[in-house]
Symmetry: C2
Amino acid sequence: MTYTKAWLNYQPVKDAPKSVGVVLPEMGPIAESIGQELILACEGMYGVTPVFDGTAFMAELQILFIRDQSGDFGEEGYRIEASPESINIIAGGQRGMLYGMFRVLERLRLRGRKRYTIESIPSNPFRMLDHWDNLDGSIERGYSGLSFFFRDNEMTVTQRIRDYARMVASIGINAVCINNVNVRGVAAELITERFRKPLIEVAEIFEAYGIKLYLSLNFASPKRLGGLDTSDPCDEQVRAFWKERIDDMFTNVPNFGGFVVKADSEGEPGPFAYGRTHADGANMLAEFAAPHGGIIIWRCFVYNCQQDWRDQKTDRARSGYDNFIGHDGEFAENVILQIKNGPMDFQVREPVHPLFGGMKNTNLMLEVQIAQEYTGQQRHVCYLMPMFRGILDFKTYSGAEADTVADIVSGRAYGNRNCGMVAVTNTGDDENWTGHDLAAANLYGFGRLAFDTTLSPERIAEDWIGLTFGTDPKVKENVMRILMMSWPAYEKYTSPLGIGWMIKPSVHYGPDVEGYEYDRWGTYHRANHMGIGVDRTPGGTGYTTQYPEPLASLYADPATCPEELLLFFHHMPYAHVLKSGKTIIQHIYDTHFEGAEEAAEMQKLWEELEDLVEPAAYARALARFQHQTEHAAEWRDRINTYFHRISWIEDEKGRKIYD
Amino acid sequence: MTYTKAWLNYQPVKDAPKSVGVVLPEMGPIAESIGQELILACEGMYGVTPVFDGTAFMAELQILFIRDQSGDFGEEGYRIEASPESINIIAGGQRGMLYGMFRVLERLRLRGRKRYTIESIPSNPFRMLDHWDNLDGSIERGYSGLSFFFRDNEMTVTQRIRDYARMVASIGINAVCINNVNVRGVAAELITERFRKPLIEVAEIFEAYGIKLYLSLNFASPKRLGGLDTSDPCDEQVRAFWKERIDDMFTNVPNFGGFVVKADSEGEPGPFAYGRTHADGANMLAEFAAPHGGIIIWRCFVYNCQQDWRDQKTDRARSGYDNFIGHDGEFAENVILQIKNGPMDFQVREPVHPLFGGMKNTNLMLEVQIAQEYTGQQRHVCYLMPMFRGILDFKTYSGAEADTVADIVSGRAYGNRNCGMVAVTNTGDDENWTGHDLAAANLYGFGRLAFDTTLSPERIAEDWIGLTFGTDPKVKENVMRILMMSWPAYEKYTSPLGIGWMIKPSVHYGPDVEGYEYDRWGTYHRANHMGIGVDRTPGGTGYTTQYPEPLASLYADPATCPEELLLFFHHMPYAHVLKSGKTIIQHIYDTHFEGAEEAAEMQKLWEELEDLVEPAAYARALARFQHQTEHAAEWRDRINTYFHRISWIEDEKGRKIYD
């Protein structure tokens, strides 16, 4: 199957030198990758094959890799000193050289041979992608085809995996977990001999691009694989089982990073079954991984998914904090808790999870989702960097001087070393990798932002557009407008004022206002004739009290609560007047009409690029824009009709709302 | 796998004779079945093996089969002349003898050796069961295990099929279609050599119990099996394909009855694709079946399943009539149109389909569903004979002096010979055949009612209870109460005043008030703050005009419309006062509280039988009653909460309705 090169499509540029010479200071798998990439890039951009020998210094453009012994750059940082004739990439290690090289190629493609100096050290130690790939080849919440790691309960090792590694290395990813956190069926056997050979091959490919390989494991493996009658993490036989498996994996799989664990969550097994804590479970695994420098990534997505809708006191939003806060400081140094950005589940709009800033003595990793499970599933454009920007900038008021989420997950706030950011990724075996061609901006953007949390969404978008579609100003202008308006538009037609979950159950796509309202998932909007929203104040579920002051009070008072989260925190009458001067019901009507119009506008902006974008890519995206326009209108009508029927309040502007 | 004997469980009775003699006038497969059944029954009831030779006349109880040559009884009628010593079964054919014998056994078990005379000629020529069994073994809308006809794309021929044939013959069934009307995958090949051998075996088993074998066919078979590029029923190659297949089937499968066809319905192929009518399609098949005495059963379940919910003029209820009424008189004599009892789809409450009484010059068959797809799925008790009684008694005002549905489908009203009743059946390979032990009353009842449409639901229930659970008066009293209260109770907690479809989409089980409200299936309730219901009057969709007067006017006026159908025909304000003096909203609240209480009461009535019913059967049904009680409470709460939230009207009685 053919596939695109995404943003690594090296096209001819104007200021091509006649020759390129490269000096690499050492050999090794990463150095080899660097060399291959430079050949590919120089041939694509310049029609020139670089030389790697002593004649390098006679070339019109020299690219010199220099190892810096000071330690200032760590393993991953770099400095670039560039002039039109010579580019020095100074780094402390091979990964720094790799990242520096990709940065150099990006600059050469976007701006040409210029004089500049850049210094960059990654903000986050861990910059990770989680694949929810199943061994049968399906991808849970995957919207871009099938897995390129697994098919029919076997691993596949192909050139595509190498190209994938190149792509994600180019944006600074240094850890990838290749299998679904829900470890079902034969997936549990990934930690056994059965998959050893292809696993080693994938690990070696990853190693050549500076990526550690991670696997999701099933906490019940001692019973399921080991034939034991328990998986109690404190049981000696269970411990022996894990020691053997973990030693085996780290000893025999090169470049192995560790494990991701979803335990006691949505039906997955975990330590609770044995009266043990999450710390008991995670630390046991960590104990055996530690001698190998291995990491245990433990997910905090733990809640009661058997809630009674009648119960207005239980609050899923509370559960992550309630389950983990009491264990702050109990987790081993090589355990990282993986916390979703918000307390619910990757909704279009949520407050920041109160565990950020709550658990000051625990290694934390911010988990986001670029697979767009709840944000249009790669059929609607929804550029997520503005959302992630907001999350990273969120001040937690946890006590440190610099205590934003970015400060915390980088380790700066509380001195952690094992921490960072992870995204549930959005790739599959579709021709264009990400279903929607514009969804690649989320993959690219996540990597860039995780590497440098100071970047603006616009800056990232600008780079991605240039690398993907070239430097035509009209393309740049229109695609930039599309990307930057896309998340706000999606929010407008799907999620007014912080109310999410008005979606079709299970598939999580398309409008269904009451789809989850009477279900067991803890995801309610409580709409009635008079109003809508969930009271999470101390008089309600008390979720606001999980935040420190001044946040707790800010959220608890409708007058100070950020309006984009008003209905997340409060049950409000439709007649409540917002700062805009509109009532809530009028805001709902207006935003739904606006959002649908904006979807149509995005389609129009794309259609203006018909002759400026590669035809296949144009056609692929056009079909999705057409769907989005139609589907946004469906959202508009269903939501407006629902709220008109229940509130019986007319639209002030007299627009068509169906009976 | 073991399984129960359902109502053919011959237990010892009190007035056992010391010997039984049987005289059968002729031999043949049916006579052999009669002999086997009598042996089984006499051994079970009396501990005596009957003799079939000349010494029969020396027995204490003589059973004599006498062929009546007058023709008065047809092939299926019989007269029984019984005294404590001698029972004469006088019949015109072997099937009459078979049915007479089962009737005799029923009387012997329920009432003992008494003096009586009964004469019975079946009301309906066709008394059929449709299995929606798929070849992989699953059953579409099946709630009692897997198929006992198919497994893993093969047919299975087992003793269970013979016992099934006994069971359904004992209630007078004379036609069975064994495969799903949605003919997918290899099921299309049932009409080829591939399944010939087991098909012949099943056909022979059926023949021994007077049952004609039918198959569902795929209208696109000429393309799918014949390699043609069209399935146009007027194409000569297509006609040649069907002639060959149909000749082959009737020639080589003994006792073959014909075909059931679902065409141009819910995505199934049909003549519309070629600009042909249903009559074109059905008559073509009928032409080739006619020389063999074969029958084509053509389903009228045709509607637009891609409706836009915004469209308030299109009405699924209209579609069957609109699609077929113009073709009255066009169908061949050996075509039967199979019409669901109501215009929607087996809901808890619907008006009678206007095609009954509409198509006076066409052979019609009434289709009902005992599989309880929308009436509790054999987890809730819902005894359907009261519903069927009402349908049969419905006066169509079509012109004939006697023009009830029973008059029409029996052929009495308009002189049809090919007509009758069919049920989508409720059996599977569960131990007790029907999932819920009490669901067997629907299978038993359907057969009895189709054979004699004058029977009352109570009479049928009384017989079934006695044959299944014995003659203990407490068992009889409690089970009778459960059965007779079950359909009204289910209606109370699920379907107020003719509004159905407030169910979870796809699975059709459990409450979801808005589950279908914005979907494409044409199944809406249009509830808003002020009222609920669908305006099907001439000012609305005009569906009422499909009925003749006085029905059209009766339904069109809320003052005369039967209240149990008020919201089916009218959009009414919640404040509308019913004849009971209650408002509609209060009626909704009251019936939901009542319905849930009645579910609990049914459980209690069953629990009183703990020591009186066979323990395994007691336990099986108890678990289902417990579920029903809980699930009815869930229905009560979700529906009441929904209507309270939207109407904002309080329950007059101040009962708990959740916010």
